[in-house]
Amino acid sequence: MMNNSELFGVSAGQMRTIVAEGLKGGDWCDLYFEQTVYNDLLLRDGAVASGGFHLDYGCGVRVLNGEKTGYAYSESTEFQSLMDAAKAAAAVAGKPGSFKAGPSIPTAKPPYLMQTDWSDADKKQLSAWLEKLEAAIRSRSPYPSKVIALLSWSVSNIMMYNSLGELTSDTRPLGSVTVTAIFIKDGRTEQRNISRSYRCGLEMITDALLDELAAEAVKDLDDSFAARRPKGGRMPVVMAAGASGILLHEAMGHAFEADFNRKGQSVFCDRMGQRICKSGISIIDDATIPGNRGSILYDDEGVPGQKTYMVHDGILTSFLHDRISAAYYGVLPTGNGRRESFRYNPIPRMRTTYMESGADGTLEDLVASVRKGIYVDKFANGEVKIGEGDFTFYVNRGYLIENGRLTQPVKDVNIIGNGPRALADIVAVAGDLKIDDGTWTCGKEQSVAVSCGIPSVLINNLTVGGE
């Protein structure tokens, strides 16, 4: 098997020379080599009649001068092309810089579960699996009209080298299945989007996964057909374990990313060490969960993936750092320097963001404690305004809570709140933490695979869209 140095056609001596060229414009230089091969198969109208593969290859050169960044990339890894990129990145040169990299951190065990390489995939067998998935959905419900299923898998070979002389390599697998199913009943249309994504190999394609996806596609379908818009306004919201972790991602996670804080933009920038929510609540960003979509062996600056407590027992304890912000704050980088591809410079990004289980009982206890509110368990997208802390997320499915019981199904409402207030308004956390395995992708400047999770929580006062 070819090693990464051979794959990218560059020697250690050449990398040292390129970095030396970059250092003419700053006090730090790193190289990020990437080859990603992405494959897909698409089932539509009962057949897998579309598919392909895509090769993306290149190298990014970054020069730091203090907190300033010069960045250039080349789609060729020939020595001269990389030297040209280094010269372009070195254009950031100005006053003498002050960037000081933190010490290296020992590496950990790869958080990937690849047993069978994706290159062994038999596309006919995978096509048959997708067809079987459609059949499984149709067998579980009389209402399916159309099923679109996309199976995609990629393997990224990454090699990083920096001006400390550190050379790191990472081979990142990512397999994903997304299903869009359209159901029609009595003239009403219901759309379901289900997905699973894992950093593992071909072994993820199993009958068990197929059954899980099919079951979720039709779960509580009659309720969805009967769902209505609630009356809008402020109310208590019970968020079910798992995908409700979008709350943490939007309302808190982004505001904890250190670049927003370093620039004074985040609503949390002056609250380090302070209590920001009730005791017992801990919020984590974690790159080490085996097979999880948000897990990485190294971040895209060569810093090992880690488990980072942002909030511990209600106290804000850490932002999420890349090397720039870590140097600025005088702390170790937390392994959150991530990028979409070699075309982008790394910036602080989340990995898998979740809250630890609490001790306030069960989901049923939380629902029973609400006289009038809403329960939500399936979501689409979210957004946040960093300065104000105002966040939103879109609810695909939920129920009204009336006198402690789930009653009328609801769907297609946005929920809006304010991050610091919502954190302070978390009044109960159940003991049922669940990490969601959907195809979560964060779009802060660049698209990066992430994940989220949460135990069931009760938040006192959020604004729910309605009629």
Binding site: R44, D45, A47, V48, A49, S50, G51, G52, F53, L55, D56, G58, K68, T69, G70, Y71, A72, Y73, S74, E75, A85, A88, A89, A91, K123, K124, S127, K146, I148, T180, I182, T189, E190, Q191, G232, G233, R234, E250, K263, G264, V267, R343, N381, G382, E383, V384, G387, E388, D390, F391, T392, Y394, V413, N414, I416, N418, T463, V464, G465, G466
Partner: protein, 447 residues
């Protein structure tokens, strides 16, 4: 710019595909360069140089279809890649509707790529010093005037960029098209702090395809004014209000209509406009056209990704749906004429008169809420139900009186557009979708 050698290589790839067993093939070769200069608080923060080349290859093999891409454009690599791709296509199920368009629909007027006058020949003359000056000149951080209400500017992040984009499209039936454009852009995001210690952020941006039309001098102050306008913002009481949506964000309410008219959505039943052709579903005040040939503007196109010629056409006429967007594939599946894959530059026409803007729409409504930014939200494409976070201003007698935030609008697009009251002429030429300020009645706001 794409070189003659690269054009020759693209043509050779058609031969590689045929020799490997493909009956037909389409090659899209794209090449772009971009320089970005980012500033933070009036200082250069990041300098980025981007240069991309890639080739997209659509293969039609024994009644089967596959789509591939690669950015290693060396002859031997491409030959091997295409050979492997043809073998992959053979493993897929046949699909009778996967064919190239009929050549009589091809664009035959995009010969040089510069027919739409959206390429600035002086692009190649810009040097690093000019780029830095443009980025720094656009920043106001170090010369920010006193802000209203004692607010102070905390942070200003700006980015100047200029780019050149070149696409060359050919296929095995003789299609041969090219499109080139340049773009000069500036975007800025500011954060201010009120005397009470509350933070407010906002943004503004501008873009032009020619250097001499590019002017970023007002961007930062516009963003700052918008942020200051939000000081003290609170949600209003939930209820039904008139709504005016500012032109900078109005496309958010038009995109779901355009998406719902796309053949892929219609054919899958994943559209709230299934069966809508010829039906008057919206207010008769609503007229949307596709205006793809606007000269000198980024985003204008003479052909779509299949090489099918674009044309000026009506999409919604007096509230009636008159066009679906159907590409060759969906044309076969839907038994619907090929109309082109998407709206290139949709433009919503003014109503009731040609001299309206956001302020006159507020005057038309009297009282209501002006939405000048959205915060998240989504639309259920199958049903048209939507819910979006908003911020803006409460207005009375046509005048803004109070900032509004942390509110949601919720409804259904069929109802929303039945309640359409009017539109201005104040769309931004630098945007892809040419959507002016809009006014609606009876919109559900939650706060």
């Amino acid at each position: 710019m794409i070189t003659e050698d690269e054009i020759t290589l693209a043509r050779e790839c058609l031969d590689f595909a045929r020799n490997a067993g493909a009956q037909n093939c389409r090659i899209t070769l794209t090449k772009s360069t971009e320089d970005q200069i980012s500033t933070l608080d009036g200082e250069i923060d990041k300098v980025t140089r981007c240069a991309d080349r890639s080739m997209n290859i659509a293969l039609f093999v024994d009644g089967r279809y596959g789509a591939f891409s690669i950015n290693k454009l060396e002859r031997d690599t491409l030959k091997e890649f295409i050979s492997k791709a043809v073998e992959t296509v053979r493993m897929l199920a046949p699909d009778e509707f996967r064919v190239l368009p009929h050549p009589n629909r091809y664009c035959k007027t995009a010969l040089t790529g510069r027919e739409l006058d959206s390429y600035d020949p002086s692009y190649s003359l810009i040097d690093a010093g000019q780029r830095r000056r443009r980025a720094l000149d656009a920043s106001v951080f170090k010369r920010c005037p006193e802000l209203p209400g004692g607010a102070r500017l905390i942070s200003e992040e700006g980015e100047y960029s200029d780019s050149e984009y070149d696409v060359y499209l050919i296929d095995s039936q003789g299609l041969d098209c090219r499109h080139t454009e340049t773009s000069f852009d500036y975007g800025v995001e500011v954060t201010i702090e009120s005397p009470k210690g509350n933070k407010y952020s906002d943004y503004w941006w501008t873009s032009a395809s020619k250097q001499d039309e590019f002017n970023a001098s007002e961007c930062s102050m516009t963003a700052i004014r918008r942020a200051c306008g939000q000081i003290g913002a609170k949600p209003m009481k939930s209820g039904r209000y008139n709504m005016v949506v500012a032109s900078n964000v109005a496309s958010r309410l038009v995109s779901p209509l355009i998406n719902a008219l796309n053949g892929y959505s219609l054919q899958q039943g994943n559209s709230f406009l299934v069966g809508s052709m010829g039906k008057r579903l919206f207010s008769d005040k609503l007229n949307i056209i596709d205006d793809p040939w606007r000269k000198g503007e980024s985003g204008s196109k003479l052909f779509d990704t299949e090489g099918v010629a674009t044309r000026e056409t009506k999409i919604i006429e007096n509230g009636m749906v008159v066009r679906y967007f159907v590409n060759t594939y969906m044309s076969g599946k839907m038994h619907h004429p090929l109309t082109g894959e998407d709206a290139i530059r949709p433009r919503l026409l003014a109503y009731p008169s040609d001299d309206m803007d956001m302020n006159s729409l507020m005057a038309l409504c009297g009282d209501g809420i002006l939405v000048n930014d959205f915060n998240g939200g989504n639309c259920n494409q199958a049903t048209g139900d939507f819910s979006y976070g908003i911020s803006g201003q409460l207005f009375k007698d046509g005048k803004c009186v109070k900032p509004v935030s942390e509110m949601l609008i919720t409804g259904n697009f069929l109802t929303l557009w039945k309640n359409f009251l009017g539109a201005g002429t104040d769309f931004r030429r630098c945007a892809t979708k040419l959507i002016p300020s809009l006014a609606f009645c009876e919109v559900d706001f939650s706060g």
